[in-house]
Symmetry: C2
Subunit: 403 residues, 2 copies
């Protein structure tokens, strides 16, 4: 009787995703499967389909012409490969190359319909796009940092603070390093900012920042530090699913992201962190960095508050995009740069991909620094305006901090 | 020039989910849309499809015969409705009834292929099944508690502790109520346990526990409390995507879930919480509850540690499922129950659905309590072994604690 009930118990749980608790509903198909030779096999069950394809950034890119209004541009589009139907309606594709170590996003295309992989529970939301995730961690390479390893782990918290500037309670993500709770030590802080349309979740999901921090700190490559992931859109409380305005659809407007209010309100965030965490509340123990719009924010926060950050990182920064007239925060840049550099910050770090559409505006900004003789560290990588570069930049930037 | 670059900036971000940062990639189609009359419209773009359907627990269930080994059973399966093709390849279905307040899961079926909604970023993983989410919060009803409202929010943290019993660092989710960080107050603690195959994420994703706590506490219906969501499978470190063993596929084995080791190791968890959080470490300020396997765990933890919990909740508990011989934790139940009740716990709360396949074994357990004259609170609800009941039970249970 007991045994029979246990069989029914486990069976009932697996019958139905809605009416019952689902138990490994999709878990019968192993996909994506990293093979011993380093190739990866993708599988999809679709007995009635006539064509199943896979696309993602694990495939070599292909040049593709796109129209932006009246302008034509050539972009690097991800490749597409056909899966081959096996007996029983299972479709399969194995790469003809060992897939390099990286954190990838992919989707299937079934008779023209883009779908995520129903047999892979790892789905990532980047802004409002869902994709399936393939993580290939390679020992000795940066990709190894993106995986969870059996090392001491920091705590990742979703924390709310009150913003007088916004008139809202707002959410941020805070990483405290392993051992924080068991010590009375004070720690340096790095503020890590997302791109346009992103939110306080972006760096810890698509950016793998908690894993990068855990792994760098565990191996002694980075100092133990607190990391703060803010939400740069001052008009909202939190990420799409975590605010009280609209559960499903991120606002199509960008009301308050690059018009100065995030920079104006930033002191509230620093004050909240310094009063609620055991920080070292000094310039030499405070860093800031960001990707794209966040790199732009990091720059303007650094030069508008020249006594705050000894370490600043601009990852594919959106410099030259915003009209300075929208905010005093973006004005008098030459004078602000002069003051910022007169206080001898320890590091201004600039990274950008060779094919990034912001390459030109970043080159202009560097020319301005060069003309004035201001020191900075510059890293140029392959590829464009992509997460692959931003994870890599973060992994390079963090070890330079607080040394 | 500035303006042109801004246009390119926003346009480039939206081109491509892989090669660029995605900006509202799927956000053009509003689905699901809650209409003013309370009906809900589902939309799906599939110009080449010949049939598009939607299924989910917002639809009335239909009786369906299924086979479990050599046994036939009739289950309540979710309904299925056809979407109608509109010009331009957009398919659409609007319910012919106002959808009652609830947290629902749904998927589309496109020419027989089950896919989640690509235009809804709210995807939920329940064990290893992905579904899209539809939240219909109705003012004055329990469903209102499942939504994020502009009330003070607690902090939700993913925390690691070391388990000597497991020989692993393991992860739990901890909710601290709004105001915790700004006070020196000590708080009572409720331990909230998941079902078989679930993990430390389940109650805060599918269970909406953080929102339920926020909303009950903000309106004074529940006392401010700390909530701890453990991982009941002692053989793993953490949820599938957060452990170092296997990134994609939850183990198909259930190695250490109902054989006593979770109960044996539980003192480590209580000790960790009581030493790392400002708890009131007393029986009258400690509660435990759980769903299905977690209800079973809650019972055996309560009676094996009779000095620990003054409040216990069994939600569709898996009593009568496990053979007592697998662990001393499950033996001498009559003597343990006698000791437990001799210490006059304030609440033993039992809830189950009328069509739950565990209804019979719960009735047997209640008969045992009745025969001995032990007091308990009993709630019987409609439906079976479903999350809808467990959220409801949690919302009913929490206001009874620490009064």
């Amino acid at each position: 009787m007991k045994k029979a009930l246990l069989v029914i118990f486990t069976a009932m749980l697996s019958l139905n995703a809605f009416a019952q608790q689902a138990l490994w509903g999709g878990g019968n198909v192993q996909t994506p499967l990293i093979n011993e030779d380093g190739t990866v096999t993708f599988r999809f069950v679709a007995p009635k389909a006539s064509k199943v394809q896979v696309t993602g950034d694990f495939l070599p890119t292909e040049k593709k012409e796109v129209r932006l209004g009246d302008r034509k541009m050539v972009i690097d589009a991800p490749g597409v490969r056909d899966l081959k139907e096996q007996p029983g309606g299972m479709w399969e594709y194995t790469t003809d190359f060992p897939v390099p170590g990286e954190f990838y996003n992919y989707t299937f295309i079934v008779d023209g319909l883009t779908v995520i992989d129903p047999n892979n529970v790892w789905v990532n939301r980047d802004v409002a796009t869902l994709t399936s995730v393939l993580l290939v961690p390679k020992i000795g390479e940066t990709s190894y940092l993106y995986a969870v390893h059996p090392v001491p782990h920091g705590t990742v918290s979703k924390v709310w603070y009150h913003s007088d500037e916004a008139g809202l309670d707002r959410r941020m993500t805070v990483y405290t390093p392993a051992g924080y709770e068991d010590s009375k030590t004070r720690y340096p802080v790095v503020y890590i900012l997302h791109g346009m349309g992103g939110d306080e979740d972006a760096w810890v999901t698509q950016g793998r920042a908690a894993q990068i921090l855990d792994n760098l700190i565990a191996t002694g490559k980075a100092k133990p530090m607190i990391a703060v992931f803010t939400n740069g859109n001052i008009a909202v409380e939190a990420a799409p699913l975590e605010n009280s305005f609209d559960y499903f659809h991120p606002s199509m407007n960008l009301p308050q992201t690059m018009e100065g209010s995030f920079e104006t309100s930033f002191p509230e965030i620093v004050k909240f962190i310094d009063t609620h965490y055991r920080t070292i509340a000094k310039k030499q123990s405070r860093a800031i960095c960001g990707l794209s719009m966040g790199g732009f924010h990091a720059l303007y926060l650094s030069i508008n508050y020249p006594d705050w950050f000894d370490y600043s990182g601009m990852f594919s920064a959106a410099v030259g995009v915003t009209d300075p007239s929208v905010s005093p925060m973006y004005q008098d840049v030459d004078a602000k740069l002069a003051k910022y550099f007169s206080k001898k910050p320890k590091l201004l770090w600039i990274g950008i991909g060779k094919t990034d559409f912001l390459y030109g505006s970043n080159a202009e900004f560097r020319a301005k620094l060069d003309a004035a003789g201001y020191p900075y560290t510059y890293v140029e990588s392959e590829g464009g305006h992509i997460w692959r570069n931003w994870r890599q930049y973060l992994a390079e930037f963090l070890p330079l901090l607080f040394q």
